[in-house]
Amino acid sequence: MFVYIRLTPRSAFSMRIISDIQAILGGFRVTLSHMLRKPVTIQYPEEKRTPYPRYRARIVLTRDPEGGERCVACYLCSAACPVDCISMQSAEQADGRRYAAWFRINFSRCIFCGLCAEACPTLAIQMTPDYEICKRDIMDLVYEKEDLLINGCGKDSSYNFYRQAGIGVARQRGAGQEETPPVDVRTLMP
């Protein structure tokens, strides 16, 4: 029916018509089959799909198994962030343990790329599957430390940075798990 007529030899022309009509009827069959198919729509406010555990949405700051803050305010997340939405101020406790005096994520800029969580050496900053963080006022999307900090370990429930790392804050140097005592380099002569 709907053919582009060209000045081609007659036989080629008639072949075109037949194949074109077949193509059109094929199209009609495809659309009819889709008409009878179940829609893929999810009726959002009523139906919600459960995101996978590794879904990248709202960012949280987790605690170690003993309830202490995991964040050591190393600025790696802030440096990794491609849109510069993470800012903080580091501070140090009397025992030398570092923490963030304030920690701020501007979720109106965040693109949920997950680079901050990837960069974090202490597993403090983590992505959660909670994707419903719309707000009426854009300033409400700026999350402070108390909004970000949760009472839990997030994805890794056993990891404790200070117990693993050889930094003499939680215990003596070399006394950590899977850690050998410090070596006096002066005795390591060839």
Partner: protein, 330 residues
């Protein structure tokens, strides 16, 4: 005296019912189109207003009525005001000659289920569909906008071209029925619908009416990919709504005409005549929607090639063959 006032009352009631049914049907055809297109695209379509979204046409109507009726500063005001009506009114008027059921008997008087049985009904239809071209052309011209003008010109060229093949494809129908009256044409198909004798004319007519009501794949006058909205790009509010509803009335009317000319009108087994007519008309409406969900838009030169180099010659040959056949079987 009482008899004539009864006649007037019956006729007015018939008019009112036809008018109401067509406008409601047009509004719900919009809804049906949105639903069916959604299903084709694996979506659900409008389902928020009322049960299954059934009040969506009402919400759309309120929205259109309360929107600003904007007229561009450099537009030709009166033509701009007039064009939507010139697009919608001929579409409604065409329905006047379509018989949609067998003659009823109410209070001992015959009530033919056709608004007026014109003896040149087919010519009336062709004339009105020519007038409908003015709505598109003037709407596009009066807007004083490039896109609207281009859409109007395209609409003009397209509708005039396809009116030719549409008119020619109806000649064999007239030859078979030996009448221009649509009631006679339906009566002539009491045993066998004309589509059996005239499959080629049916296909040409179907393609031509698709072009005539500017539906995909012939929606060049309003091709949104290239012309924003074509001839009604500058229209807003209910004036746009009039163009819009006119298009859907056109679908119903042209579907009804296709049923009348080729599928035997209201004739059919078992079911009442009005139901048969509605089923056939709505089947055409469904086909138009289905086609919209399936086919891409033609290019402008393809459109002209198809109309002038394929459909019109085929329709002419079809007339010749039909005449020859009729002469042999006299």
């Amino acid at each position: 005296m009482t008899a004539s006032s009864l006649d007037i009352a019956l006729f007015s009631a018939k008019l009112g019912v036809v008018f109401f049914v067509i406008l409601t049907l047009a509004a719900y055809l919009v809804f049906a189109e949105r639903k069916i297109l959604a299903w084709i695209q694996d979506r659900k379509g409008p389902n928020r207003v009322g049960p299954f979204g059934l009040l969506q046409p009402l919400a759309d109507l309120i929205k259109l009525l309360t929107k600003e009726d904007f007229v561009p500063a450099s537009a030709d005001k009166w033509l701009f005001y007039l064009a939507p009506a010139m697009a919608a009114i001929p579409a409604i008027l065409i329905f006047a000659v379509i018989p949609f059921g067998a003659t009823l008997t109410i209070f001992g008087r015959p009530l033919p289920l056709v608004v007026t049985d014109l003896n040149v009904g087919l010519l009336f239809f062709l004339a009105l569909s020519s007038i409908a071209v003015y709505g598109v052309a003037l709407g596009g011209w009066a807007s004083n906008s490039k896109y609207a003008l281009l859409g109007g010109i395209r609409g003009l060229a397209q509708m005039i071209s396809y009116e030719l093949s549409m008119g020619l494809s109806l000649v064999p129908v007239v030859m078979l029925a030996r009448s221009f009256s649509l009631t006679d044409i339906v009566a002539a198909q009491a045993s066998v619908p004309f589509v059996v004798y005239q499959p080629l004319a049916f296909i040409i007519f179907l393609v031509s009416i698709t072009a005539e009501c500017k539906r995909i794949p012939f929606d060049l006058p309003e091709a949104e990919g290239e012309l924003v909205a074509g001839f009604h790009a500058e229209y807003s509010g209910m004036r746009f709504g009039l163009f819009f509803v006119g298009e859907y009335i056109n679908i119903i009317v042209l579907g009804g005409l296709a049923a009348t000319f080729f599928l035997g009108g209201w004739h059919g087994p078992l079911l009442p005549p009005v139901v048969w007519f509605s089923v056939k008309t709505l089947a055409f409406a469904f086909f138009f929607i289905w086609m919209r969900g399936t086919l891409p838009r033609l290019r402008y030169d393809q459109l002209m090639h198809l109309g002038w180099k394929l459909l019109t010659p085929l329709a002419l040959i079809n007339i010749l063959v039909t005449g020859w056949w009729l002469a042999l079987n006299r």
